[in-house]
Assembly symmetry: C2
Homo-oligomer: 156 residues x 2
């Protein structure tokens, strides 16, 4: 029998919500807030983690940790058939924090964190040598106003 892997109930959402606020919140505290037993909180959370609905990660502040060049690179691919291999190649680079294909003018959009402008220039050069990369356009992020989790209340 197939198990349902997609439907989340109110308890699940409440757990996710707790963890968005504090990823280290204990099972005990989650259980208290939701008025369920510790075992329930644990089972639910472990399932959510296992299914990849949520992942709990330490997110460093790029500035404070020493990344002085946070930038966005838009990439044109020609011929278009090379998109997948190029995406794989770029995905493997440690500087890359985000990579997606879009509906826009460019084929791939990348966010990168580099130590310095020099490092960023080197990285863009590196990208440019990948077969299929036809053109790139780099934009620096000057000031980050918000970096948050989506509000789950929007889904109710």
């Amino acid at each position: 029998m197939e198990k349902n892997h997609t439907l989340l109930d109110d308890t699940d959402f409440a757990i996710l919500s707790c963890l968005q606020k504090d990823g280290r919140m204990s099972f005990t505290e989650i259980a208290d807030q939701l008025n369920v037993s510790v075992g329930t909180a644990r089972t639910r959370l472990n399932r959510l983690l296992e299914e990849g609905v949520i992942s709990i990660v330490g997110r460093v502040d790029p500035e404070k940790v020493g990344f002085r060049a946070y930038a966005h690179i838009a990439i044109y691919i020609r011929p278009a058939t090379l998109k997948e291999p190029v995406a794989q190649e770029i995905s493997s680079k440690p500087e890359v924090s985000f990579l997606a294909s879009t509906s826009g003018d460019y084929d791939l959009e990348v966010d990168v964190m580099c130590q310095s402008n020099n490092h960023l220039v080197e990285f863009v050069n590196e990208i440019s040598t990948i077969e299929g990369v036809y053109q790139t356009k780099t934009t620096l992020y000057f000031k980050v106003y918000k970096y948050a989790q989506p509000d789950l209340n929007l889904l109710k």
Copy 2:
């Protein structure tokens, strides 16, 4: 005497690195991996959290949780003096997961998560009515290849 809030040593980096892999790793396990006492691991990590060098958050998978429209909106502001108030206004919206000003053609770049294309259209309309928002350009993220933390080894 001012306290140093910026310099991180190897132990700090090692702790950050552990937490990038698993945000719920216990003090005990971190201490074991670094060959320091539990107290040290705890003191260090608490300081890093307090100073905002790292924050531990549950990151939900937008798809799995019900956000079917993940998009990017580039925004032109006229007159330019309205940039700050517009940024504040946009920042307060729950759909917004990322907001930054850039060196590029547009003044602000926003990432948003919406339940549906309808919801996204409504959101863009909402943004367009803000005073100072002159033009917007929306791009859908089709496929996300990578969503990761920056590799701290780059800083060594």
